[in-house]
Symmetry: C2
Subunit: 220 residues, 2 copies
DNA sequence: GTCTATATAAAGATAGAC
DNA sequence: GTCTATCTTTATATAGAC
């Protein structure tokens, strides 16, 4: 904690100092990545600090100089994922004004493309975080904000698509987005237990049925 | 393990023997109930055998004479819930030929009736079981079978309702049931993090939109 | 900043008394 | 069949060397 230099943090620093910060960030990054894997594989309690640090190529000592506790690390992993997702949503929105990529994504998923290992890992992590939040309600806003971001992204896509096809929605796009997100999450839960329970084209067909119903509603 | 009587299990036994079996069943039941609560509150790892047995009014000794390990108890809790749900589905189907109770249930939920403590507990338990199954794939069929039962129950209700209104489904009722179950589960996940994110009448409205779309499809 | 060694605590499981 | 006492393992977290 003793810092002999009085330099402010925002000021560009001497090479030696920047190198140390980079090193620290690199260590943190490796620990965060390893933690994400082990937490997904074993759960919050099942994951031991030792296994995490070993997988990152360190020992426990290195860990405790970068994080306070295991719970601290757990929340840091969550924050990293939230930031990553937030960036991803805004990127897609900026790069795809016609909202085609969104429906392309849905079609791919509907076509039965098996989830990548990373997607599966994130599903496990998300369940861990959700349980953690349910038991620590003061953390709910953090996870809720991420979910709201995803929902808003979908809503924006839906609005663009509706504009393209001249559909007037009989309800706020945010609410429709909530349903579409729910269908995707809910079907994935069922698929995870039995892949044959959800036919590969069900998402695409349901989206179509949904929009047909909406069009029928708006024509009244 | 030494059993001095050679009587078969199905045969009515002497009072003293039946009493012991009842006592054993009662102990098991209390342990199972307490385990369900503690597993929901703290998770599989977070729950200690001591807290479970204490809540049931016993000590660890009583537990280890009824169950092999903590994991054994965990699976027994799951089995009890599966059996309970199976019974519930068949009961509803038998007692409600017109499928009104099912939609009444949906309407109640849509009307913003807050989940009971038991429902919330079951959601937590279900997440715990799901994670456990994801990490022990050989157990997947057990949970998948329960899910298939719920889905089949919904499908049966949908078919009855369609028969009543003369709707010809453009897809198997099981697939529509999967979507309806997905919407319910998915929306509950969103509600659990932020109750304001899902308006209270969204489920009911979506069901209507869905059936309007289906009717439009079937008229072609 | 990272490692080795260690203190401390908690929990799963067992043995034997009653 | 249940309880008390105990064994053993494992994991978090810390202290001090380098």
């Amino acid at each position: 904690m003793t810092n002999s230099t009085g330099a402010s943090e925002s000021q560009p620093a001497a090479p030696v100092r920047r190198s140390r910060e980079e090193q620290r960030a690199a260590t943190r990054g490796r620990l965060l990545e390893a933690a994400g894997e082990v937490f997904a594989e074993r759960g919050f309690y099942g994951a031991s600090v030792e296994e995490i640090t070993e997988r990152a190529g360190f020992t426990r000592g290195a860990f405790y100089s970068n994080f306070e506790t295991k719970a601290d690390l757990f929340l840091a992993v969550l924050d990293a994922h939230i930031e990553r997702d937030r960036q991803l949503v805004t990127d897609v929105l900026a790069r795809d004004p016609s909202a085609n990529a969104f429906f392309e994504l849905l079609k791919q998923r509907s076509a039965g493309v098996r989830e990548s290992g990373e997607t599966q890992r994130w599903a496990l992590l998300w369940a861990e975080f959700w349980l953690h939040v349910m038991r620590n309600p003061e953390l709910a806003p953090k996870l809720a904000e991420r979910q709201a971001g995803v929902r808003a992204g979908i809503a924006e896509m839906v609005e663009r698509q509706c504009a393209t096809f001249g559909i007037t929605l009989p309800l706020p796009a945010e609410h429709l987005a909530a349903v579409m997100l729910a269908v995707d999450d809910g079907l994935r839960l069922q698929e995870s237990l039995d892949p044959t329970s959800v036919p590969s084209d069900l998402r695409a067909r349901m989206i179509m049925v949904l929009f047909q119903g909406l069009a029928a509603s708006s024509r009244r």
